[in-house]
Symmetry: none
Subunit: 202 residues, 4 copies
DNA sequence: TATGAATGAGGGTTCATTCAT
DNA sequence: GATGAATGAACCCTCATTCAT
């Protein structure tokens, strides 16, 4: 139930619509009218709340960055055995990237459109994972002959790539499995690889 | 030496300028005037040759797809020992992605803008690499417990990710090395990893 | 000390801010938001007090007309010898125009914008000066071969012109003096001229 | 007879319409649609020829400045006796200012709207008159106890003032004469005054 | 083949005004 | 009396496209 003159509610609806549309069509490809139409409000109202299109965009990115942080932090908790930790970390990462296509698309748009803020934040947060990796290396769980930044790249890079091209591969190679099944296989092999690399170290 | 009324030459110059600009600013962000200005030709001439902006875009994508094929084919030759083959393949891949940022950016734009043609072609061509990988597996050079598609993902994914975030990592982690030095390190570790995975198989 | 809900006080603050802004940027160039921002009040409050922007403008003009009258009346007092009277009148006029740039700018804006009310009032008030001049002429202090309206024009016209272009002349002629020094020189020469014209009469 | 696609002709018509409208309503008060409507052309065409509204404005100002120069130069020619020279100069100046209200209004708008370019040019050109005045002073025709800049102010200032307020004075003082008759009287008295000041010098 | 004049739709933004609270 | 949410028109400007030359 929505009050007709609830500014905060309007803001939220605009942000949500903007996020979807920016994800779908990018900053340049989304017009304020697109957004206001989707919200059922007038053209000018968006700028009443957000001053400028650019600013609205920034707010969307900030929201996403927060979400990203939040998810990362959540993913980090838990304890258990070394192998379990690796498994859990990889699963969590994969699911994180798999779930929110909106986030990834906006992240890509921002990258291409030269909006570096988000990428910086991402990189900054990702950098936080280095500590984690280094700790695992010190405990002998992960192979310390590789630089932490490389191990991260080795985990997240394939995940990104896989999620982007998986459907096309499926089509071209005529794989009968569902997307979810393929994801499962992929994740299993990624975990297996990381395990092997880790054991090699010992 | 260029004739004053050489339609073909004009076409090529437009295509080349369009490619650069679409790479830099995407389809929506590039105006025909941007392109005609960069070519030093008049406003209307582009559409005289290409009918519509969309059509020009398509032509650019097609050109790139051809280029891509060409580069991939070239990269494949070689002979030598198993280890050398792996090394060469990885180096070639890395350098291929590193050099042509134009291609990658347009590929990304096309992906986001829903222009699936290019992605399909890419996937199709990449699929060709599967054969290669499978052959290496049959020869016992690469580990055959992993699916070829996974091994490819494991190679190209990190490369993409690295090239995209490398500069930000460098900044955030205050790494003193140059980008080229970092690239060298990265490639070395990637090769090392692939070697180990391969040996493990034996 | 200002009560939180003092309508009259708010009105005055709005009028004052509006006057400054209209003077600086004219009617078309000033937005109600400019004004409300400067007052530190909310967007809608101005129209709550003044119904429309046009109406607010009219109120500002009326206020200024009153102020103008008030200043003119004050300027007229004095006694003393004929020469001193001329001197005092010219000095007072000059300083009157020099000091209140706000008034003059709004007057000009109103003139250009076809808001004739203010100009009428001005002319009406200026006409009052005719009596003064005529009295001086009857007393033999001022030259009565010139029409009073001409003598007024001869005084006020140069003052206006001087105040408007003085700075530019200073820049172009590379005059080393300060604006105030130049004003002093100007006034001295204007007085000298009027004295001579008056003496010629006798 | 106007060709339908004559760019230069269109430019001129836009400039002319813009000049009238800027004179009537100022820069801020004139919209590009006002101008395009008056010319019977589409909205975008103006910007095709003039890039931006500001730029169009600048062109109008430049045109006017040239006109101003042209008129000033023309006014300067002629020889004859000292008295005749003064008479001619004053008449020419007066008529110059009287004729082109467009020029004066735009000049005023520009002044108020902070567009200093025109005022600078004006001042610069006016400064050229100093030489003239100084020459007259050296020949003993004009009184050299007054600074040239002051003498100019004494001439142009009243003319401006008179032309601006003349009609209002006429109305308020119930003068029966026509505007032209009043102008004639005014000019006569101005000339008389300048003559006297000049003779006084001898 | 090539130029550039002309159109018209759409985009971001400003702003006076209205109105629920 | 005061706030600020909401509207809708107008404005400047960009741009793909058409067309006369």
């Amino acid at each position: 139930m929505r009050k007709p003159r609830d500014g905060e509610d309007t803001r939220q609806r605009v942000l949500s619509a903007a996020q979807e549309l920016f994800a779908a069509k990018g900053f340049a490809g989304t017009s304020l009218m697109d957004i206001s139409h989707r919200c059922g409000i007038s053209d000018g109202l968006i700028l009443h709340h957000f001053q400028s299109k650019k600013n609205l965009y920034r707010q969307v990115l900030e929201n996403l960055a927060e979400q990203y942080t939040h998810n990362l932090v959540q993913a980090k908790e838990s304890g258990a055995s070394p192998q379990e930790m690796i498994q859990q970390t990889l699963s969590a990462s994969f699911n994180f990237w798999k779930q929110d296509t909106t986030y990834q698309r906006i992240s890509l748009w921002a990258y291409l459109e030269g909006q570096t803020e988000l990428a910086e934040k991402e990189a900054y947060l990702t950098a936080g994972l280095f500590q984690e990796v280094r700790r695992l290396q010190e405990q002998g769980i992960m192979d310390d002959r590789y630089a932490p930044v490389f191990l991260l790249t080795l985990i997240i890079g394939p995940i990104h790539f896989w999620l982007r091209y998986r459907d096309q591969f499926k089509a071209i190679l005529h794989l009968p499995d569902t997307a979810d099944e393929l994801d499962h296989l992929f994740l299993k092999q990624l975990i297996q690889l990381m395990m092997e690399v880790s054991h090699k170290a010992s």
